[in-house]
């Protein structure tokens, strides 16, 4: 576990995540002649249209037919191409799941499955287009690397690493611009978590964009006199077991933060690790076994319990439990 402040950006700024994805594809397409993109008629939403304009010969429109699209990707992978999938997380993680299982995951074919509009903020499209089980689905599939970057910088760093890796991979992409927390020279490593903030009273583990809110939660707690560490876990699989256990050993209380169901995602992954290695009292902040709905972003985050305040309150709850246990001698 490395606490490296140099990891972090010094100037506050926002950056478009889907734009970073589209631009990242174009740049990687320049570098790798075998990179191809398959689209499910959503390129102007996902921003794969940038790749279509830059590399039209390597852009394949597959229409609104995701099962076929993932199968085509498997075939292309056997001929030496590296297909990147352009569709929404809600569709890649469910609509084509048996295809992914049989022709991509089981034979470990090198297909990069990207899920755009992930989490609960896919504009105002509601529960059909929100994706709250995608991490659970892919994390449970043998052979599939599962990545949820925190910001546009980490997203592009992960994409570069993915092209140097041959495993089937799920990459979670969000729709809206979000704060950039990582410095421009950030290097992505599979299975490596990053301690973004030191703290002694409790540890917050975040993944995806929820790590940004975890950092804000730590600020809220600091103002209240509580020292919270923040660990960012960009790869749900492989998971950085040591970093999670070290954080639990150092703080004794763990809160997880994810814009995903608390069942099967980060919260589950951390609970599995801690209960096997270092049983630790914890709280899981995320979707509480529910689907979402349409609505403005702020209202959704508030209603479904994903704001920095919710993360901070989960930490306070744990601290109160610990204090109560001490007082009663338990």
């Amino acid at each position: 576990m490395s606490a490296t402040q140099t990891l972090l950006a010094t100037e506050p700024r926002n950056a478009g995540v889907r734009e970073a994805w589209g631009e990242g594809l174009v740049a990687l397409g320049n570098r790798y002649a075998n990179l191809v993109v398959l689209d499910g008629d959503l390129a102007n939403s996902t921003k794969a249209d940038l790749f279509a304009a830059a590399h039209p010969d390597r852009f394949f429109e597959m229409g609104i037919a995701e099962q076929n699209m993932l199968g085509v990707a498997a075939g292309l992978a056997t001929t030496g191409y590296v297909p990147w999938i352009s569709t929404f997380a809600a569709f890649v993680a469910k609509r084509a799941l048996d295809q992914i299982r049989v022709v991509i995951a089981q034979p470990s074919l090198n297909v990069k499955m990207c899920g755009a509009y992930s989490g609960i903020l896919p504009s105002k499209t509601g529960k059909t287009h929100q994706s709250v089980e995608d991490l659970a689905v892919f994390r449970a599939m043998p052979h599939v690397v599962t990545i949820a970057p925190a910001d546009a910088v980490e997203l592009q760093a992960a994409m570069a690493a993915m092209m140097e890796d041959v495993r089937p991979t799920y990459l979670r992409v969000t729709r809206d611009a979000s704060p950039v927390i990582f410095a421009d020279d950030y290097v992505f490593e599979f299975g490596k978590a990053h301690l973004l903030r030191r703290g002694s009273d409790l540890g917050i583990v975040g993944t995806g964009v929820q790590t940004v809110r975890a950092l804000e939660a730590a600020e809220l707690l600091e103002a209240e006199g509580i020292s919270a560490a923040v660990l960012h876990v960009p790869t749900l699989k492989p998971l950085d077991v040591d970093a999670i256990c070290d954080l639990a050993a150092a703080t004794g209380l763990i809160v997880t933060a994810e814009d995903h169901s608390i069942i099967g995602g980060l919260g589950s992954a951390v609970a599995e690790v801690l209960s096997e290695h270092i049983p630790t009292r914890m709280r899981r902040v995320g979707l509480q076994d529910t689907y979402g709905e349409s609505g403005p972003n702020d209202a959704l985050l508030e209603k479904y319990g994903l704001t920095p305040r919710h993360v901070a309150d989960a930490g306070l709850e744990l601290l109160a439990l610990k204090a109560g246990a001490k007082a009663t001698g338990k």
């Binding site: 191809v36 076929n68 085509v72 030496g80 049989v102």
Partner: protein, 288 residues
Amino acid sequence: MTTHTQTGTVTDIAELRRLSARTRQLILETVHHAGAGHVGGPLSVADILVNLYFNRLRIDPENPGDPARDRCILSKGHSSIALYTVLALRGYLPVEELATFDAIDSRLQGHPDLRALPGLDMSTGSLGQGLSPGIGMALGARLAKLDFHTWVILGDGEIQEGQIWEAAFVASRYRLHNLTAIVDYNRLPQFGWPDASGFTRDEPIDDPGGKFAAFGWNVIEIDGHDHDALGGAFDAAVAHRDGPTVIVAHTIKGKGISFMEHEYNWHATPPDEQQLADAVAELQGALA
């Protein structure tokens, strides 16, 4: 265009018929030995596989990973024993290894596993999935400027799956003349459909050729047990340069063994000692 390697081609019809009979015998012996496995479907697709692997595919068992080789996907993966048998006769594995079919640690998994055995071009088994990877291979060939052809063998039952028609649309849209689908049209599903008379197993899907034609495919209908017709259809499919071709091969489930033909009970039943002996005698008699 990079050229392929090709070895061991057989064009003589009598020899192809002999290979078909040998394939059927090995299928039955293997399933008998394993005590489990599909029978009816492997027997119906046997001639298609023999003709493809011995007469048509530009392949070299010594170089199974050649990027320029022709590809073949057995989408109806439950007929795997037919494919393994033909691959064995073609030199990809020892014939004796067929005895490991279905056993633990075997390269011959119940359904074809791309990573287990050289010579397999795709994992299959969950039905309706084989045509889409075939499109990927055909697009890959086009992109890499390789002239290999991709062949996908479909069961008539599995084309009930919606993914087949997603693929039919896209293959036609990209005018993939380097892709050919072959429907093993044996008309006998595992369970079947209720109908006015109570219940029927006849024709899991009516007129598959007409349906592919509606999606813009070139359609060829043949007797799927006639090596002359198979060879001719394969030539015509490769010669057709305007979009993908589907060959509707009219076949008989359980073909070659009188007491297994048209009998759904032989979908996945291993023959006992006596049945095996009777079947082998019949196969050898037909060649005499």
